[in-house]
Point group: C2
Chain length 94, copies 2
């Protein structure tokens, strides 16, 4: 069972109200020194079998048609999940 | 100007309707061999200056209080943005 991670971000020229809201909230909560925040999406696709190059090509195709809206979003990463990409494997404790 | 990436995913035991919708749509669109999809969030924080360990500690704190809901979500990654994490730097062309 492999896993592929797809990261999708709003294009730089697109307004990102969610990111703006986070950026405005940071200093209110005492977090300073940040000049901007962008919020995008992260998908984890479980693959039935090995993550071959064909699977990655399929995921790239799916990323640009189903997982993102190419008018307003960029697919910034399509990659085999590494160890640290496992949600359960390494949840960052704060 | 540094950049920090924060990845947030729904906890494994939490139902993820967006991921389920994507998983159901994949075979309808001709993408087979996927057994599950989870959808989470990805944040890119622009830092005013270097990404030091103190900045990363601040981001970790922000990630667990503002960027995620610890009841239903896990912060799966807090990391300096690598080259391929730049939205503009490498938009994956499909």
């Amino acid at each position: 069972m492999g896993r592929v991670v797809v990261d999708v971000m709003p294009k730089p020229e697109i307004l990102d109200p969610q990111g703006k809201a986070v950026a405005a909230a940071l200093p209110r909560l005492g977090f300073h020194g940040f000049t901007g925040v962008r919020q995008g999406k992260r998908f984890e696709l479980e693959v039935d079998g090995e993550v071959t190059d064909e699977v990655l090509a399929q995921v790239r195709e799916a990323a640009s048609t189903l997982l993102s809206n190419p008018v307003i979003e960029d697919v910034v990463r399509v990659a085999r999940a590494e160890e640290h990409d496992g949600a359960a494997a390494e949840a960052v404790s704060a």
